[in-house]
Amino acid sequence: MSIETISLSGRKKEVSNKKMTFAESLYLIAIAKGLWITLKHLFTRSVTIKYPEQTRELSPVYRGQHMLMRDDEGRERCTACGLCALSCPAEAITMKAEERKPEEKHLYREEKYASIYEINMLRCIFCGLCEEACPKQAIYLTTSRVMVKSSSNREDFIYGKEKLVMPLDMAIRNTQMQTAN
């Protein structure tokens, strides 16, 4: 068997350049075949997902919006070690560390905390390496279905602590659930 005759997919077709007959050159049969194919598509279901009303099914290991966690006393876990920024392949994370003052003990768990913590959502690729790198289990990628909101201003995509830190009432609810268990 020569190499020209092998067809692994079984769909191989010889391309021929022969002259068309009169019937073929009227294109009518070919057009009728084409019309039949498009007619079948008229009755197939559309594959469109009407986005704001419907959302695509997400996978169970889906990684969504980041969240900076609080511990069970409502204190921020992050200690601004910078390992997440170091591990980030997209260089999306920046932060500024600050020393905790004695009166801020109820706000921050460690003696050092991040006074500024920013993720550039235009750079982030949602790989989850920050989550893996974090020694304090402070940053997590949630399964939240909220996508990054569109904006006409680049600055709006740099998410600061006000958007990233877990809301207090959510921390309170978590703690209540844990104590109940």
Binding site: S25, L26, G34, L35, I37, T38, T48, K50
Partner: protein, 346 residues
């Protein structure tokens, strides 16, 4: 002439004009919807329920666009182009029989603006003038792409008019009249011309695609080669007029196809309906039947558009001159022989 007939015809013309415009408007939506369905998509569905207000939104958008004039000395012709296109697209509807007569307030209302005895020639004449809209627009744009598109359009339309005329000759030989009203009335019940003239119908169909500059013969606006063809330089509502004229002429040409070959307002069993419910009811059903046929042909235009890719220019000319014209002439000869044999048998 009494005053009543002027009022009657006046109302009738306004109604036909409104219907043509409404059809042209909603054809734009239908085209996008049908294109979407053929491609397994949804189509425009945001303006109104199921996109029902989309044509209004489109019109509003076109009106609010900047009116751009290219650097041309023929400003008058530049404006005249879309106007001629639109006028010729609307003029044909004057001779179309939209239905049989109705009896209203003791008067016989004939549902045809005017039944001139050379209706068919009138249709051809107006179709030929349609070339000028495109040609003048392309010429006055002062742009070589526009001019090339216009040249293509005019040569294509002139070439296909020949085959179209030859296809019609068979019909005229059979029916013995050029009046559209008589041709429509002659197809009573099931005696539709398409059953006697299938080849002529196919030739006429292909030619009407070419005459309306629709895919697969839309070389005049071939965006891959000519940017936008004859309407490259047009913007705002002048552009809208060209597009609108295309849809209006699509409606009219669907009507002509239905009237000439698919039995116009005739439907099987119309005699029975007339005997049961009276002539008026039968004729009103006839009007709806005609519009159903028109809708089918409009759908067919769109169906073909989203199936077949554009012809190459030499393929187009070859199809017109070397395939359709010999076929049409052969059809004339065969029709003539059959008519002769049928006459001798009687």
């Amino acid at each position: 002439m009494d005053q009543a007939i002027i009022i009657e015809k006046g109302i009738f013309i306004v109604v036909i004009f409104a219907i043509t415009m409404l059809f042209a408007m909603y054809e734009t939506l239908a085209e996008r919807k049908i294109a979407a369905w053929f491609q397994d998509r949804v189509g425009p569905n945001r303006a109104g329920k199921g996109g029902i207000l989309q044509p209004l939104a489109d019109g509003l958008k076109l009106f609010s666009k900047e009116e751009f004039f290219p650097n041309t000395e023929n400003r008058f012709l530049f404006i005249a182009g879309p106007a001629i296109s639109m006028t010729t697209a609307l003029m044909t509807s004057a001779v179309i029989p939209w239905g049989d007569k109705l009896t209203l307030f003791g008067r016989d209302v004939i549902l045809q603006a005017t039944d001139i005895n050379i209706g068919m020639l009138y249709v051809f004449g107006v179709l030929s003038v349609g070339v000028y809209g495109i040609m003048i627009g392309g010429w006055a744009s002062n742009n070589k792409f526009s001019l090339m598109g216009a040249m293509r359009a005019s040569s294509q339309m002139i070439s296909y008019e020949v085959a179209m005329g030859l296809a019609i000759i068979c019909l005229v030989m059979m029916t013995g009249t050029l009046s559209l009203g008589e041709i429509a009335a002659g197809q009573h019940g099931w005696r539709w011309n398409v059953l006697y003239q299938p080849v002529g119908f196919i030739i006429f169909l292909v030619c009407s695609f070419a005459e309306t500059n629709r895919t697969p013969f839309d070389l005049a606006e071939c965006e891959a080669e000519l940017i936008g063809g004859y309407h490259t330089e047009y913007s705002s509502m002048k552009m809208g007029f060209y597009l609108f004229a295309e849809y209006a002429s699509m409606f009219i040409s669907s009507t002509i196809l239905a009237v000439l070959y698919f039995g116009a307002y005739n439907y099987p069993g119309m005699d029975w309906v007339e005997s049961v419910a009276g002539a008026n009811i039968a004729n009103i059903i006839g009007i709806f039947v005609l519009f159903a046929k028109i809708c089918f042909f409009i759908f067919f235009y769109m169906w073909v558009r989203w199936t077949i890719p554009r012809f190459r220019y030499d393929q187009l000319m070859k199809l017109g001159w070397k395939m359709l014209i010999p076929l049409a002439i052969a059809n004339i000869i065969v029709t003539g022989i059959i008519i002769l044999l049928a006459d001798q048998n009687l």
